[in-house]
């Protein structure tokens, strides 16, 4: 009542941390590594880091969009596994066909998630949990639980080839970053997505087809995950449904959150998400270079997530 009459001034003091903290952390970490890590700037090292982070970036982009609608998608790892399992089955019809089939699998999973969330009205975490559990199982059933070698020159080029001195994987990831950034900023779909995340009821009343937007977001997320899945197959030149994309949902959510996208929806930071993924990659790489065990890395990751979310958490407004 009374507070309604107030003009709340945006506070600048704390806002910079969630916005620019991730970039500052990257700069600090890079400076540290340049000074103390031997061969950090060697091209071979940077190349490895970039190739490793590319699939996480791709999945995190989709996750950022879903989180922007106040949702979450746990099924991305399973989608990667599904895409990976389908590739060797259809490679006989040509590489294009195989890629298309794995993308279609992504569309189907996205449609199921989207319909469960938008039309049935399930909470995103439960809706996508079903496919998280079932999706990988299905992938294992399809591949009979076996690891299959994939020897296809075109795929191998996608996975480990170079173009203009940069790995194809990095080009693809960069292209997808641009596409998603463009979608968020410049398209009707992108703007509606943010409004849905900001206030679903209001957006619905404004005549925006909210359900269609939501379904679209989940489809987009799953398609990005299936791209990551097929690229993973291309890179390691084999398809193993039991390991591809395992726990990637955690890395993706971490990248999004560390990048400053709030879990409460209504905002998507595309560049921040990329930076979030890079930061986590740098942290892991730095620790490995300094002979710290993966266990330490995991604990450090936990702390970084908490710090990032704490800094960005909702101001006590009401």
């Amino acid at each position: 009542m009374t507070t309604e009459a107030l003009v709340r001034r945006p506070t600048f003091d704390r806002a910079w941390l969630p916005k620019y903290g991730v970039y500052a952390a990257i700069v600090l970490l890079v400076l540290y590594n340049v000074a103390f890590t031997p061969n950090f700037l060697a091209w071979s090292n940077l190349r490895i880091q970039l190739v490793q982070v590319a699939p996480i970036v791709i999945v995190a982009l989709g996750m950022a969009l879903v989180i922007g609608t106040e949702g979450i998608d746990l099924s991305v790892g399973s989608v990667m596994a599904l895409a990976a399992a389908l590739i060797p089955l259809y490679l006989g019809y040509g590489v294009i066909a195989a890629i298309l089939v794995s993308l279609v699998a992504g569309v189907v999973v996205g449609l199921i998630n989207g319909v469960l969330v938008a039309r049935v009205g399930l909470q995103p975490i439960v809706a996508t949990l079903a496919l998280f559990v079932g999706g990988r199982g299905l992938a294992l059933v399809i591949s009979h639980g076996q690891l299959k070698d994939v020897r296809n020159d075109d795929l191998i080029f996608l996975g480990s080839g170079d173009f203009l001195g940069l790995p194809m994987l990095v080009w693809i990831a960069a292209l997808l970053v641009l596409v998603v950034a463009f979608v968020v900023r410049r398209t009707v779909f992108g703007r509606r997505l943010l409004a849905v995340g900001g206030n679903r009821a209001a957006t619905e009343l404004a005549g925006v087809p909210v359900k269609r937007v939501l379904i679209g977001v989940y489809v987009l997320c799953a398609v990005l995950a299936s791209i990551a899945g097929l690229l993973a197959v291309a890179r390691i030149q084999s398809s193993d449904a039991s390991s591809v994309g395992l726990l990637i949902e955690l890395s993706a959510i971490t990248a999004v959150v560390v990048g400053g996208t709030p879990l409460t929806g209504g905002k998507v930071r595309v560049l921040g998400t990329v930076a979030g993924a890079l930061l986590m990659q740098l942290v892991i790489a730095t620790m490995i270079k300094h002979n710290l065990q993966p266990s330490t890395t995991e604990m450090a990751q936990a702390v970084i997530i908490l710090v990032a979310v704490y800094a960005a958490r909702e101001r006590k407004s009401r």
């Binding site: 009205g121 909470q123 496919l131 639980g145 266990s295 990751q301 997530i305 908490l306 958490r313």
Partner: protein, 332 residues
């Protein structure tokens, strides 16, 4: 106070009976499906019927049941705890490690450690208003890191050194393993705690409406911290029991365990939005998933991956049905 003649009560719903039926289905749906599945399984698989097989199902379901019990409390407050899978493994490892000092340390050390993680979870969630999802996600990573640090990056498997502890895990009474008896006792305590104590009522109140609960004098923060501590303790206990059962602290299990627990709780009719749910439902949910697993094992040559597919499909069907029931209820 003087009696007032004017009646206020104006009923919102006309069809109370259909309301009750919907309510019954939502609460006891999992139990009904469990009965049906058990009957089918008993008809289809001769081996399923045996008393021994029932013991097998129960002993396999014991650790997940404990985790699901803690999860039920957390979910009724409107929260979620993703760290329990990691805590379960961590509990198993430290239990096996501590078993060289005797029975009690093997049981208490995992409880202490996992309870501590629960305290951290609860305090962060209750006092900093960070989302339970993300706090416990961080705890998932942290606990896994801790487990690996304690086991030389997962390469060391500690064996259970205490014979008493080992026989607690493998022994049985009336054909039912000791762990199952322990779990049964814990569940009875949990039921009493949830439905018959003031703490239990405050768990429901916090999940039903946090603002209202706090205005009504419920210690919201304390309630939240308590449920996450309980969840941590139960995950640790589950880990300890598992270590006793297997005779070692296995480091590779437990991935996705938290999601299985959530699935069991949701199938049991507890609303993920908080404020409603029962422990009886959770038992039915856990057993249902256990029986499905057992059935698949009975078939024999079916790969275990089918179990995941069936569990996933089952979860989807149950939650969709639940949502429609709730909608149906609103409409009548």
């Amino acid at each position: 106070m003087t009696a007032l003649a004017v009646p206020v009560e104006t009923e919102e719903r006309t069809s109370e009976r259909s309301d009750r039926i919907v309510d019954l289905v939502q609460r006891q749906g999992a139990l009904a499906v469990l009965v049906v599945v058990v009957i089918i399984a008993a008809a289809a698989f001769p081996n399923f019927r045996g008393y021994d097989n029932a013991g097998t199902i129960l002993i396999a379901a014991a650790p997940p049941a404990l985790i699901a019990l803690g999860m039920t409390f957390v979910i009724i407050t409107g929260g979620i705890d993703l760290s329990v899978g990691s805590l379960y493994v961590l509990g198993g490892v430290v239990s096996a490690y501590a078993s060289k000092w005797g029975f009690l340390p093997a049981l208490l050390v995992p409880l202490a450690l996992c309870g501590l993680v629960g305290v951290v979870n609860g305090v962060l969630i209750a006092y900093t208003r960070m989302a339970p999802f993300i706090v416990t996600l961080a705890a998932l990573l942290g606990a896994r890191g801790l487990m690996r640090a304690l086991s030389n990056e997962g390469s060391t498997t500690y064996l259970v050194g205490d014979d008493g502890f080992r026989s607690f895990g493998t022994g049985s009474f009336l054909g039912i393993g000791y762990p199952v008896w322990l779990v049964a006792v814990v569940f009875v305590l949990g039921m009493v705690l949830l439905s018959r104590t003031r703490f239990g009522r405050s768990v429901y109140a916090v999940g039903g409406s946090e603002d209202a609960a706090s205005l009504m004098g419920v210690a919201v923060r304390r309630t939240k911290v308590t449920v996450y501590v309980m969840s941590g303790l139960l995950a640790g206990l589950a880990g300890g029991i598992n270590a006793a059962k297997l005779g070692s602290g296995v480091t590779v299990l437990g991935t996705g365990m938290e999601l299985d627990a959530i699935a069991a709780v949701v199938i049991g009719g507890t609303l993920l939005t908080g404020g409603a749910g029962t422990i009886a439902g959770t038992i039915a949910g856990v057993l249902l998933l256990g029986v499905i697993q057992n059935m698949i094992n009975q078939v024999g040559n079916v790969p275990s991956s089918y179990q995941q597919v069936i569990s996933g499909a089952f979860l989807a069907v149950v939650v969709v049905a639940q949502t429609y029931l709730v909608k149906l209820r609103r409409r009548t």
